[in-house]
């Protein structure tokens, strides 16, 4: 009898300690809700404590986004940043992410961080529509990185073409995914331990590591012609949908390869996708900017890569404070002239 009593006490104690340790060192509970268009999104107002990479404590706004409460500025530009986890930036505190960096530097801009981990190009129209329903949008930045090509094709959903071979619709409805997560929502919303274990189990079953993107160092192979065609179709479709809401610009975050003495170059795959995106942007008459040279300059100056964190990995993973500042500078340089025009009474 004593054995069973001890076992029960030990199990409870371990669960309790596990919960405390997980909250302190790994992650907070993941209070997410299922969204038919965007997958899992954060519940409004929840606080997310992120320690896997970096150390960020951020409260989500009413749309479940990593930003301050949504508001509109009557004069000046309301700008939406659409992107994945690189834009969402849970790894750093709010004031250090590139959306906030740009907003702080610019007197005329309200920069809305609408990044969400796991989002790909195909999800952006839905997100933009939701924002546009709340505030006037004057400009949309689509922030893409080296992994977005694959992510976009993976999350392409159902593509509908017309008789002329023109892409006319993308259906990205999330239907039967994450059924376990949905059924046991109460546990996962309140237990960091359960959230962490579920994530590990999922990654184990999928045979992936925590940082699939970050540790992806396999040799690069050019995508096939059909993949390139499909990506171009999606890119054209998404940007045209976004353009119906506001003008669109592309910002590309490449991956660097580092040498000693502060030298660095764009990785082969990053350079390839950068040129693909530049070409597609040109075709769609969309402004394109790459953060590559800003990253290279930052590394040369500080001998610190713009991605990676001491507690996860250097040179890999998400943007750190230096990386966010480098992206933020691109945004500031692009938006500042508009602010100057506004100050002199010109049009934005």
């Amino acid at each position: 009898m004593a054995v069973f009593r001890n076992t029960a006490i030990v199990t409870l104690l371990c669960l309790l300690i596990g919960e405390v340790v997980t909250r302190a060192f790994i992650t907070s509970p993941s209070p997410a809700k299922s969204d038919p268009e965007l997958g899992w999104v954060y519940r409004p107002g929840v606080e997310i404590f992120h320690t896997k990479e970096g150390w960020g404590r951020n409260q989500m706004n009413a749309l479940g986004l990593n930003d301050s409460p949504l508001h509109e500025i009557p004069v000046g530009q309301n700008i939406a940043i659409l992107g994945d986890s690189f834009a969402e930036a849970l790894q750093v505190d709010r004031q250090d992410n590139f959306s906030e960096y740009a907003e702080a530097q610019l007197s005329c801009a309200n920069v809305v961080n609408a990044g969400r981990s796991g989002m790909a190009l195909t999800h952006f129209p839905a997100m933009a529509r939701r924002l546009a329903a709340e505030i006037r949008l004057d400009l949309i930045y689509v922030v893409l990185n080296s992994w977005d090509f694959d992510d976009t094709l993976q999350h392409a959903g159902k593509l509908t073409y017309d008789d002329d071979g023109q892409l006319i619709d993308i259906d990205v409805q999330f239907r039967q995914q994450h059924s376990l997560r949905r059924k046991a929502a109460v546990i996962f919303d309140n237990s960091a331990l359960a959230t962490h274990l579920l994530e590990r189990l999922k990654l184990m079953l999928e045979g992936r590591t925590v940082q699939t993107q970050a540790t992806n160092t396999q040799s690069f192979e050019n995508p096939s012609d059909s993949e390139l065609r499909q990506f171009a179709d999606i890119f054209g479709f998404v940007t045209s949908k976004l353009s119906e809401i506001a003008p669109v610009k592309i910002v590309y975050i490449p991956r660097l390869e580092y040498s000693d003495s502060g030298r660095s170059t764009l990785s082969e795959d990053s350079y390839y996708y950068q040129e693909i995106l530049r070409e597609l942007s040109l075709k769609s008459d969309i402004q394109f900017a790459s953060v590559g040279s800003n990253f290279q300059n930052a590394y040369a100056l500080h001998l610190k890569p713009p991605v990676g964190f001491h507690n996860a990995g250097i040179k890999m993973g998400h943007l750190n404070e230096l990386g966010h500042a480098a992206v933020g500078k691109i945004l500031v340089e692009d938006i500042a002239p508009t602010c100057a025009n506004l100050a002199f009474g010109g049009e934005g």
């Binding site: 004593a2 054995v3 001890n6 076992t7 006490i9 030990v10 199990t11 104690l13 371990c14 300690i17 596990g18 340790v21 997980t22 790994i26 331990l193 962490h196 274990l197 590990r200 990654l203 184990m204 992936r208 590591t209 925590v210 580092y258 040498s259 000693d260 001998l303 610190k304 890569p305 001491h310 507690n311 990995g313 250097i314 040179k315």
Partner: protein
């Protein structure tokens, strides 16, 4: 199929179940032998044939050695047996290295790929067959008449691929007794296994995510980061190999076998000689008994003794891998052992001074620093990388700073563990306990399992010593 994988867990539970069902000694021996070959074949079924041939060869020549009274013939049989085992090892492990070195010596460019795949654990099972043949020839052990038992001795899966290197004199007598699956052994073995898994998954695997990128590109990192990388690797290789050995010992214990201790807190050593008495004990004692003493040991004068030491350590280095880095590592250890012997001789009259805490502390720190620095040639993939590492380490180089808090936490954990071992050994002596009902034991086990589940990296790194 590594010990920390789900496939191994299922495999092991199946073996335990079969052993529980079939109680006859012969059946259990066959079950363990087949399981061992399945385990080995998991990597490459072809090499099961190699281990089978190696075993049968050593067993058959063992019989020939035993059957004849002619001392010359005995020696010839031994020579043939040993030459075959060493020939197989040389072909698989050193052929390409020797050819490359030969080409390099002549200034030619090596552009070939011999396509030789190194069988996992070949260095370990070769040394086991060698020890059997040599001990048999010396009359230290009786011949093993049963091919099944001999093959199980060579292929026993808990220690097959990375040791501990088991002597025939230790293992074969255990096969003469009844293979006993008892709850007591399972409880003790499970604790040993868990202790090893903690070292492997929680410490070594987490360290490797920090160590690998640093040793891959030392030119990028600052001197401080390289020092931290060196400390991390010193702990990684210890916890990886010590953890593996402990898991192997635990698995064997659950199956009713006792394997020899392989590590005894080597980083607490106060001399390099002591370090080798505590590090990879089964290999160092093998090298001592079958190489150093066979060469003459210290029986042929001081000068010869130092040369014997050098030869032993050079070959010991080469045993770890076919690379000049390992040769350098072995040579430096050989030189250090020789210097320590000279120092020991000349300071024999200062035993009181040597017993002081100050002397002990200096001796411990210098031994630890030396052993850690020698991991650089051991870990770096080639000489140029090693040169970059060393020059930046001591040159105060600028570069990327990566002061990883997890690594520092784990280093602290290991330091505390060593301090407890040194100053409060009674705490650690409670484990493994044969009383699973004790609350403290259950709590320690529960927390250990939880720690592994929560913090172990999802992708387990292969054991470092598998490559040897």
């Amino acid at each position: 199929m590594i010990f920390t994988s789900l496939s191994f867990l299922l495999f092991f539970l199946s073996v335990l179940l079969l052993l529980a069902v079939f109680k006859r000694q012969a059946a259990r021996t066959y079950i363990l032998l087949i399981a061992s070959y399945v385990f080995y074949g998991w990597w490459s079924p072809v090499f099961v044939l190699l281990i089978l041939v190696t075993s049968v060869w050593a067993w058959a020549f063992g019989l020939l050695i035993d059957r004849t009274d002619d001392e010359v013939k005995k020696s010839r049989y031994l020579f043939v047996s040993v030459a075959f085992s060493l020939g197989v090892l040389a072909y698989y492990k050193y052929a390409e290295f020797l050819a490359q070195s030969f080409y390099a010596a002549l200034g030619w460019q090596w552009t070939y790929d011999l396509g030789i795949v190194l069988p996992v654990g070949i260095s370990f099972f070769t040394f086991q067959t060698l020890s059997y043949s040599i001990d048999l020839r010396k009359g230290k052990i009786p011949v093993c008449e049963s091919p099944t038992k001999f093959m199980l001795f060579v292929a026993f899966f808990p220690q097959l691929v990375a040791g501990p290197i088991v002597r025939a004199s230790d293992f074969l007598p255990q096969l003469e007794k009844k293979i006993r699956i008892s709850s007591k052994n399972i409880v003790i073995g499970a604790q040993l296994f868990l202790g090893g898994a903690l070292q492997k998954t929680l410490i070594a695997d987490n360290m490797s995510t920090f160590v690998d990128p640093i040793f891959a590109e030392p030119a990028l990192y600052s001197a401080e980061t390289l020092w931290l990388g060196l400390a991390a690797y010193s702990i990684q290789i210890f916890c990886d190999f010590c953890g593996y050995s402990l898991m192997a010992i635990g698995i064997a214990k659950m199956l009713g076998f006792d394997l020899p201790e392989n590590f005894r807190m080597p980083y607490l050593s106060r001399s390099i000689t002591e370090f080798w008495r505590r590090w990879h004990i089964s290999l160092s004692s093998w090298l001592r008994d079958y190489l150093y003493i066979a060469l003459g040991g210290n029986r042929k004068g001081k000068a010869r003794m130092y040369s014997h030491l050098m030869i032993t350590m050079l070959l010991g280095g080469l045993w770890h891998g076919a690379s000049w880095n390992f040769v350098l590592w072995g040579a430096l250890h050989g030189i250090a052992l020789a210097i320590h012997k000279i120092w020991d001789d000349r300071t024999r009259d200062y035993s009181e001074l040597k017993a002081t805490p100050l002397y002990s502390s200096i001796a411990w720190l210098s031994t630890l620093t030396f052993a850690a620095l020698l991991w650089i040639p051991f870990r770096c993939v080639d000489f140029p990388t090693m040169q970059v590492y060393v020059s930046r380490l001591f040159g105060g180089a600028d570069g990327i700073d990566w002061i990883n808090p997890q690594v520092i936490t784990l280093l602290s954990v290991v330091v505390i563990w060593h301090l407890i071992y040194q100053f409060k050994p009674a705490v650690l002596a409670k484990f493994p306990s044969d009383n699973p009902e004790r609350f403290g034991v259950q709590f320690a086990l529960g927390i250990s399992i939880f720690a592994i589940i929560l913090f172990a990296p999802l992708q387990t790194s292969p054991f470092v010593y598998f490559q040897f």
